[in-house]
């Protein structure tokens, strides 16, 4: 009860009425003397246990992890063996690989793959954001429709869906645009409007949208409900509440999953080869069908997939860093800076060992070396 009064800074009886006799206005300062008591105890004990100063002045040597070093060495041997195999085994047929890696036909196919990925991602996530927000809507109809969409498109294998789109002209010979259940204003032959490439993009985007919707929904749910409430209490307009307050915070949850999805979509474009579209995987199949050099051409495709995935991964890193503002105590260091720091640590560690300086700056030299 004393603390209660102290916090408010209420001097007992400051208003005139305080003079009225009251049990609550003048709290006895009972707990006060008790406070200084306990601290004396530990201080005394510390005094008794004080170590001799010889020990406290000694140099500290970090623990040595011999098992860790041994495991590292063993794995390095295995890696070396694998690399050696790649280089020396003639079956990999590296000359053929290098002939085709930058061949025009392959580069064109890479471009088609990139286009499929970009269009699939943009359309898929645009629709996914709409569906994700629909699932969070207060309207039962919107919620149900979005749920049904996600349910359906997650249930259908991508390859099956793609073949449906490819065969759309068989189902609907022409497409009409007009008033629902009313007159049709504009007709067009299905084959003219939806070629193979369009069909592939639609298929990928619709598939992607179902997953994107769930990712967006998850990201939004992870934002504290108090954030929207605070925005609402400040009278911030609804669209701005989403754009400025909720979505930037949701992005932290959305980005890693979205990057996963984009990368798997990127590799998923290889499925489009069933529609005879000249993307990367289809193209290398065509080439090795002609010349029979299966392995080097698969390696061509593999290397391109790896290179482009790496580009996406690096992009992901920097986008995530951008959205981490305010979320961590310190902005994460960029990889370049981290490399420089490791190098610096190594040099410092070496210098320390050479000069037998006491390791006063942390206990890392051994760990730094193992890294």
């Amino acid at each position: 009860m004393t603390s209660e009064a102290d916090r408010g800074g209420a001097p007992p009886g400051s208003p005139g009425e305080g003079a009225a006799p009251s049990a609550v206005a003048a709290p006895p300062p009972a707990p006060a003397p008790a406070a200084p008591g306990p601290p004396d105890g530990p201080r005394e004990r510390q005094g008794r246990l004080a170590p001799d100063d010889e020990v406290s002045g000694l140099r500290i040597v970090p623990a040595r992890h011999y098992g860790r070093w041994l495991a590292g060495a063993a794995i390095l041997v295995l890696v070396a063996q694998f690399v050696n195999g790649l280089v020396t085994n003639p079956a990999w047929d590296w000359p053929v690989f290098f002939d085709y890696l930058l061949a025009d036909s392959v580069l064109r196919a890479v471009w088609v793959t990139v286009q499929l990925t970009v269009y699939g991602t943009l359309l898929g996530f645009a629709l996914g954001v709409v569906l994700g927000l629909m699932r969070l809507s207060r309207s039962y109809v919107l919620r149900s429709v979005a749920w049904a969409y996600v349910w359906a498109f997650r249930s259908i294998p991508l390859i099956v869906q793609l073949l449906f789109w490819f065969n759309l002209a068989y189902l609907y010979r022409e497409l009409g645009f007009g008033i629902p259940f009313g007159p049709v204003l504009w007709r067009v032959g299905t084959m003219d409007l939806i070629g193979a490439m369009t069909a592939a993009v639609i298929g990928l985007a619709l598939h992607q949208a179902a997953y994107a919707a769930e990712i967006v929904r998850g990201g939004v749910l992870a934002v504290d409900a108090g954030q929207r409430e605070a925005a609402a209490a400040l009278g911030i307009p609804r669209v701005r509440q989403w754009r400025r307050i909720v979505l930037p915070q949701a992005m932290r949850g959305i980005l890693p999953n979205a990057a996963n999805e984009i990368i798997s979509l990127f590799k998923g474009t290889s499925i489009v080869s069933v529609m005879a579209i000249g993307e990367l995987f289809y193209q290398v199949q065509v080439v090795y069908g002609r010349n029979g050099r299966v392995v080097p051409l698969l390696m061509v495709a593999t290397v391109w997939y790896i290179v482009l995935t790496t580009v996406l991964t690096v992009a992901q890193y920097y986008v995530e860093r951008r959205f981490a503002r305010g979320a961590t105590s310190h902005a994460p260091q960029s990889p370049a800076r981290r490399l420089r720091k490791v190098a610096g640590d190594l040099r410092a560690g070496a210098a320390r060992r050479r000069g037998r300086l006491p390791g006063e700056r942390g206990t890392e030299p051994a760990a730094g070396g193992a890294r």
Binding site: M1, S3, E4, A5, D6, R7, G8, G9, A10, S14, P15, E17, G18, A20, S22, V24, A25, P27, D224, G226, Q227, E229, A230, A231, A232, A233, L234, G235, I236, P237, R238, R240, R244, I245, P248, Q249, F323, R325, G326, A327, T328, S329
Partner: protein, 258 residues
Amino acid sequence: MSGAAGGVMVDVRGVHKAFGTLPVLRGVDLQVRAGEVTVVIGPSGSGKSTLLRGINHLEKLDRGSVRIDGELIGYRRSGHVLRELKERDVLRQRAHIGFVFQNFHLFPHLTVLENVIEAPLSTLRRPRRTAVAQARALLERVGLADREADYPRHLSGGQQQRVAIARALALEPKVLLFDEPTSALDPELVGEVLGVIKDLALAGTTMIVVTHEIGFAREVADTVVFMDQGRIVEQGPPPEVLDRPRHERTRAFLSKVL
């Protein structure tokens, strides 16, 4: 204390609210005059916070009305019914009602300054320069002039709550509502937040403060309101309610918290 001359700023009449079948507010009437500080106390579950959230329409009412400066909040009268306003209109009304949350709810991805200028920019459509100048003055007022570039995470709880107060003040509200502003704070940080609220009271800001800090109520309140089980049990000047409570329930509550 200061604004005895003011007219009624907040006028709550016959407010009822139930969560499902659980009644939370059962006929609450409350008048707050301009420039006065009303402190609402009472046991948890007594409906204090719900009342406060009802005043700026964060909670919809089942029955009754709330007027601020004469304007009906959240509803408009249409013959014999009260029609709920569209969200956009409610948001516009809320610009006149500052709200400070127990858990601050600062926007963690925005700096302190951005937190304070966000509502003036988007709600009041102030020019950026005006908003920034005003925000700096407010941060100075709550003693955080040097922290405008920091993110909320880098501040202590007490500092965060002071930013939240500055953020609410940036709209120049007619009334400020505090929902247990110090309950989430470490004990040693409570004083700095209460100090800021006290300064606002001295400056004649109309405020309703839900709190458990009885000492604060005694010192700052013009009126203390004791709520229990969804009703206002008694209200009056602090010495009357806190020192000479007329109701048994008030006495029982005070004997527990003091």
